[in-house]
C-alpha cells in the first residue's frame, strides 16, 4: 500500500538517470585525453591515473581542496554556534519583533548570491578579509545561518518544555542547561543542520569565486583553469570534478540513516 505498481522499474530508471552522467565523468577521468577526443568508449580502454597524479602533485590543484574545506568547515561552525541560541529563543519565547526577525532571516536564505557578489567584494576588500577563507565563510553565513536557525528551531520545539523547567528547578544555570542538557537532546538535529550547512557551503561557487583570488581559491574555481590555450584538458577537468564529488559522498555516507528525517528538517 505504501508504494506504487512498477516502483522497482521507476526507481531503477531514475537511479540510472542519476548515475549515468556521474559515471561518464568518472569514466572520462580515467581516460587519456587522446582516447577521449578520438573515440567513443563506454569504459576506459587504456586506463590511466595521470590526471589524478597531476592534481595530487601540483600544489595549485590540491590546495584548492584544502581551501574549500577550510571555509566550509569554518562556515559550518559559525552557523551552528550562532544559530543554536537563536533557535532556542524562537522556539521558546515571544519577544518584540520575533516574527519579523524570523521572516527577515528566512528571506536572506532566499536572496540571490548574484545580488551580493559585488557588494561583498567591496565589503571584504575594505576590511582586509578578501582572499581569505574567512571572507567566504562569513559570506556563506547569509544563507546558512537562517537555514540552521530554521532547522534547529524545529528540533528544539520537539523537546518538551518541561525538561527546561525541571533543569532550572534543579539549579542549572542557563549556559549549563544549554550545553549539558539541550545540546545532547537535539544532537541529531545539530547533525542535520551541520549537514545542510556543509552541503550548501560546499556547492556554492559564485560567492566563493568572487571573494578569493589566489590564496583561498576554492577547488571549484580552479577547475575553470583547464580551459587553456591548448584547448580543453577534458581528462583533468573530469578528474577534478570526480574529486569534488567525493567529500559530499563521504558526508552522505555518514548521515545515511538520518537523511530521511533530516530532509524533513525536523518538521514532519
Amino acid at each position: 500500500m505504501h508504494s506504487i505498481p512498477g516502483r522497482r522499474l521507476i526507481m531503477g530508471l531514475f537511479l540510472v538517470f542519476l548515475l549515468l552522467p556521474i559515471y561518464w565523468l568518472v569514466n572520462m577521468s580515467f581516460k587519456t585525453n587522446s582516447e577521449i577526443v578520438s573515440t567513443m568508449t563506454l569504459w576506459p580502454h587504456t586506463p590511466t591515473l595521470q590526471h589524478y597524479k597531476r592534481i595530487f602533485t601540483d600544489e595549485s590543484w590540491y590546495s584548492g581542496y584544502i581551501n574549500s574545506l577550510e571555509y566550509v568547515v569554518l562556515n559550518t561552525i559559525i552557523s551552528i554556534s550562532v544559530a543554536l541560541p537563536a533557535a532556542y529563543a524562537f522556539s521558546r519565547y515571544r519577544f518584540l519583533g520575533d516574527k519579523h526577525l524570523f521572516f527577515w532571516l528566512l528571506s536572506n536564505r532566499m536572496a540571490p548570491a548574484a545580488v551580493y557578489a559585488l557588494p561583498f567584494f567591496n565589503l571584504y576588500s575594505a576590511i582586509g578579509l578578501f582572499d581569505t577563507p574567512w571572507a567566504v565563510a562569513l559570506a556563506h553565513c547569509i544563507f546558512n545561518v537562517p537555514l540552521a536557525v530554521w532547522i534547529l528551531e524545529g528540533f528544539v520545539s520537539g523537546v518538551p518544555r518541561e525538561i527546561d523547567e525541571t533543569a532550572f528547578l534543579d539549579g542549572y544555570s542557563f549556559p549549563r542547561f544549554f550545553i549539558k542538557i539541550l545540546v545532547p537532546l537535539i544532537a541529531s538535529g545539530i547533525g542535520v543542520a551541520a549537514f545542510f550547512c556543509f552541503m550548501f557551503s560546499w556547492v556554492e561557487l559564485l560567492l566563493a569565486r568572487t571573494l578569493t583570488s589566489v590564496q583561498a581559491k576554492p577547488i571549484a574555481a580552479i577547475m575553470t583553469r583547464t580551459v587553456s590555450a591548448a584547448g580543453m584538458d577534458w581528462g583533468l577537468l573530469a578528474a577534478a570534478g570526480v574529486l569534488t564529488i567525493i567529500p559530499g559522498a563521504l558526508v552522505i555516507w555518514f548521515v545515511r540513516n538520518y537523511i530521511a528525517r533530516g530532509f524533513a528538517l525536523g518538521r514532519v
Binding site: P5, I78, W202, G262, A264
Partner: protein, 324 residues
C-alpha cells in the same frame, strides 16, 4: 505550546542578528547607494535618482529589455522545472523500497547530486551532452536526432531543464519521502479495510500528509531556480544568443562583466524585491498551514506520537453535547 513573552530572548538572537546583518544589511546599503548613481569609472559617481529603475522597467531601453526578457525566461524556467520535479519527486518517493539495505542505497544515490558543487554539475552535463565526447549527445546524434546544445536554442533549453531535473528532483523526492515516512501504518490498514483503491489512498492519505513538505519543496525549488546561475552558465554561458540568460546571469554580466554598478544595483534591488514578495507569500501560507497542523497534532497522537503534544483536546472545538 504557549510561548512566554521574554524580551531578554533578544540576547540569544543577537549573535545571529549581527552575523546576518553584517552580511546582509551593509552590502544592501551599498547596493541602494549605487542604484541611485552613475559612474564613469575611476570611482567617480554621479547622482542618478530613480533613473536606473525607470530604465529597468521600460522594455524599450536596452537595460529594461534585457532585464524583462531574462525575467520572463527565468519565470518560464521555474514553472517548467516545478511542473516536472514536483510530480516526478512524488513518484520517486512513492517508489522507494520499504525496508532493507536498498533503502539506504537509494537514499545515498538520491542525495548524491545535491552535494556536487554547482559548477561541477554544470561540467558534468556540459561533458555528458557534447555530441563529440558526451554519451548523451553522441547517442542522440547516433540515432538521428540532431542535438547540439551549443548552437540550438531548443536543445540548450532542454539540456538546462534536464540538468535541473537531474540535480534537484532528489530534493523533492527526499522531502516527500520524509513526509510519507511519518504516516502511521494504521492509516494504510484503515484504508485497506475501507476498500480504498491505490489512487484513493494517495488522494485521501498520502497527498494530505505530504502537503506541508511539498510546500517546503516548492518554496525551495522556486527560489533556487529563480536565482539559478552557476549550472546554466557553465553549460551554455547563457547562450546560444541570450536564449538561456537568466536574471542572475544577466546581473553578473552587468555587474562584474561591464562594471555597470548603478544598473546592476538597481537590477539587484528589483530582483530582491520580487524574491522577497514571493517568499512572503509562501511564508504566510506556510505559517497558516502550521497553525492548522498544530490544532491537528494536539488532538491526534497517531499522526505524531510525541509525548509533548499527545492527547490534548482542543477545548474551543469540543462538541457541545458530547455523547448522550
Amino acid at each position: 505550546m504557549d510561548k512566554t513573552v521574554n524580551q531578554k530572548a533578544w540576547f540569544l538572537v543577537l549573535p545571529v542578528f549581527l552575523v546576518v546583518a553584517f552580511s546582509a544589511v551593509l552590502p544592501l546599503m551599498t547596493v541602494v547607494n549605487y542604484s541611485m548613481q552613475d559612474t564613469f569609472g575611476n570611482n567617480q559617481f554621479f547622482w542618478n535618482g530613480v533613473g536606473w529603475f525607470k530604465e529597468l522597467l521600460d522594455p524599450s531601453t536596452d537595460l529594461g529589455g534585457r532585464f524583462l526578457a531574462s525575467l520572463g525566461r527565468n519565470l518560464f524556467f521555474s514553472l517548467v522545472i516545478l511542473a516536472i520535479e514536483v510530480p516526478l519527486g512524488i513518484v520517486v518517493a512513492l517508489s522507494m523500497p520499504r525496508e532493507g539495505w536498498t533503502v539506504a542505497a537509494c537514499l545515498i544515490i538520491l542525495a548524491l547530486p545535491l552535494l556536487i558543487p554547482w559548477n561541477v554539475v554544470g561540467t558534468i552535463w556540459q561533458i555528458f551532452g557534447r555530441p563529440d565526447i558526451g554519451l548523451l549527445g553522441y547517442v542522440l546524434n547516433a540515432i538521428g536526432i540532431d542535438y547540439n546544445y551549443v548552437s540550438n536554442e531548443v536543445d540548450a533549453w532542454v539540456t538546462v531543464i534536464v540538468m535541473d531535473v537531474w540535480h534537484w528532483t532528489s530534493l523533492v523526492a527526499l522531502l516527500c519521502y520524509a513526509g510519507l515516512k511519518s504516516i502511521p501504518d494504521a492509516y494504510y490498514q484503515a484504508a485497506q479495510i475501507d476498500g480504498a483503491s491505490r489512487w484513493a489512498v494517495f488522494k485521501a492519505i498520502q497527498l494530505p500528509k505530504m502537503n506541508r513538505v511539498l510546500l517546503i519543496a516548492v518554496l525551495l525549488r522556486f527560489m533556487d531556480s529563480f536565482m539559478i546561475y552557476t549550472e546554466p552558465f557553465v553549460v551554455t554561458g547563457g547562450g546560444p544568443g541570450n536564449s538561456t540568460t537568466f536574471v542572475s546571469i544577466e546581473l553578473v554580466k552587468i555587474a562584474l562583466g561591464q562594471f555597470d554598478l548603478g544598473k546592476a544595483a538597481a537590477l539587484s534591488l528589483v530582483y530582491n524585491l520580487i524574491i522577497l514578495i514571493v517568499c512572503w507569500i509562501f511564508y504566510t501560507v506556510m505559517t497558516n498551514a502550521g497553525v492548522e497542523r498544530k490544532v491537528q497534532t494536539e488532538s491526534e497522537p497517531a499522526a505524531e506520537p510525541k509525548p509533548s503534544a499527545a492527547l490534548k483536546p482542543v477545548p474551543a472545538l469540543k462538541p457541545k453535547e458530547g455523547v448522550a
